[in-house]
Point group: C2
């Protein structure tokens, strides 16, 4: 049918043009109208690469707002980039959409994604859009840059290093507890419930701490599978063990209130997932400088324990000076 | 429980350690034991980034072998990298696994992935593993490198350029026809059926042509949504139109035999998806050099038409000199 006007492309092309191309203002995105994106790394820099996905029904609830799902998907990746000491450089988006996904949902999703891409200076560079017979899924691959050879690894911690965490621990896991059972939060104020639920839905990647970590931390990771489980990973990678003073683990007012009402939830705060705070090992001599960098970035850091030689499991020491025994030490979807 | 030995990690950690860590021999993969991978781009190079996914039931059949699913997922990305003129540099793998995925399946999947990572010199750098209640899905993000500013785009074609394709066109779409209806291949020999089915299951990325494309093509893309649809994309991006001589479009013996028995399938060869051959625009003066480069790489190229000024839809001219009218000009999952 050579007489008709040029085809506007497939349904996928139209969907991309309508919702995602307006976000792709970075020149390397080529307007999402090519097979690939192009990224020119700054001279002398390494690229840090990470990929993390969200599946509706596994990582988020089907009724979660589309814009929050998009922002969460980007933020969990930015959290990895930050923990490694890198500056965001851009991301690729792969979405698998059930047939019933409507235009309004996609518009809200793109709005949330665009807002965070701007907020964290991490442009959309490209992607892939598919139909699925399964649940909606969003897989993001994010890129960060840093001076060559300076990525903060899990494996650099040494005995004597101090362990610090950013922000507060356990809010997201307790927020998830409230999502699953509203009555669990009966003793909380509305603001406290809102705090925990919000921390579950929308993590705050600590991008502002990246440069400070690179300068002063010996090892770091972001806490996605729970403080206890991720600390064990850092210790295994570094060949060290750790003692955490549970009384020094920073908890929000809301978390404290919920745990006061239901002491059994204390373990959940230490072992539950989705904090997206940073756990770092810091040589004692760097601690002041790290604190200063964090303060300048407006990010709270708390000293929670210390690394020691050995390959035993890390210990969480209670206020009674005795080690805690966890029922379920780490969160995993498997 | 501080008395027990260090935990071996979560189920996800064990799965990664067993099946995927052995593939991650590139130093930047950090043994898949960190939050992110690190890639040091060669000085003066751009990175080409692409992501493409496979969902069981959408892009492949549930009964397709695990190793072929893995190889196909990597190859469709390598096809993009090649079409852009880049050399593979590595990839990230995101898999979402239904609960019933067993160890044997994963071992075969990892085996296929490792074989192709080696074959195409494209190492596994990192990834993400999730459980899903939906179908199994594999999303790969692949990286390529090339001298800065030299990526072959869709948009560089000019009137007067010659259109070339690699290999043969339509085999995969006809293979899919046979997969869906065995009787469709009744007139073919077993070897012919095997050829078409194999071309559907396992594309051959034209990585050997990348440097030649970069040196001599003005525009290129890989044909994933069918020759007609992808040609229309190249023309729209470049602001040109095209005339294809259908008689010059290269078909395999098996495709010719099937179309001879069922002439209606001729359109499907030109419009069906999954060729993963390369369509390129080549300035007439570069044609000999491009042919020489392709010959040196052992890749067949065929001249199929020419680009002209204008923004009409590309024309496919039949052997009777009249333009064809397609029923369904392009393949799309949407």
């Amino acid at each position: 049918m050579s007489e008709r006007p040029p085809a506007a492309g497939s349904g996928e092309d139209r969907l991309i043009a309508r919702h995602f191309a307006p976000l792709a203002r970075h020149p390397g995105a080529l307007g999402l109208a090519d097979d690939a994106a192009v990224l020119t790394p700054p001279p002398g820099c390494d690229l840090v690469l990470t990929t993390d996905g969200i599946i509706v029904g596994v990582h988020v609830f089907p009724e979660d707002p589309a814009d929050a799902i998009a922002r969460r998907a980007l933020r969990v990746n930015l959290s990895d980039i930050a923990a490694k000491g890198a500056k965001p450089a851009g991301f690729l988006l792969a979405v698998a959409l059930p047939a019933q996904t409507n235009d309004e949902w996609l518009a809200a999703f793109a709005r949330g994604l665009g807002a965070d891409a701007e907020r964290y200076d991490c442009p959309l560079l490209g992607g892939d859009t598919d139909r699925t017979q399964g649940p909606l899924s969003v897989s993001i691959t994010a890129f960060g840059t840093l001076p060559a050879g300076t990525m903060v690894r899990r494996s650099g911690a040494r005995p004597g290093d101090v362990l610090i965490v950013t922000g507060t621990i356990g809010d997201a896991a307790l927020g998830l507890t409230l999502r699953k059972d509203e009555r669990a939060g009966a003793s909380l104020t509305g603001a406290q419930r809102g705090h925990l639920l919000g921390r579950y839905l929308l993590p705050e990647p600590r991008t502002g701490l990246a440069e400070t970590l690179r300068a002063h931390a010996s090892a770091a990771l972001d806490i996605s599978d729970g403080l206890a489980g991720d600390l064990a990973k850092l210790c295994r990678a570094s060949g060290v063990t750790a003692q955490i003073e549970v009384g020094r683990v920073p908890l929000s007012d809301a978390a404290n209130a919920l745990i006061a009402a239901q002491p059994a939830l204390g373990e959940r705060a230490l072992t539950g997932g989705d904090d997206y705070e940073i756990l770092a090992a810091v040589p004692a001599g760097n601690l002041d400088a790290l604190r200063a960098g964090a303060a300048a970035a407006g990010i709270a850091v708390s000293e929670i324990g210390r690394l020691t030689a050995g390959n035993a499991a890390p210990e969480f020491i209670g206020t009674d000076k005795r080690p805690l025994a966890f029922q379920r030490p780490s969160y995993s979807h498997f």
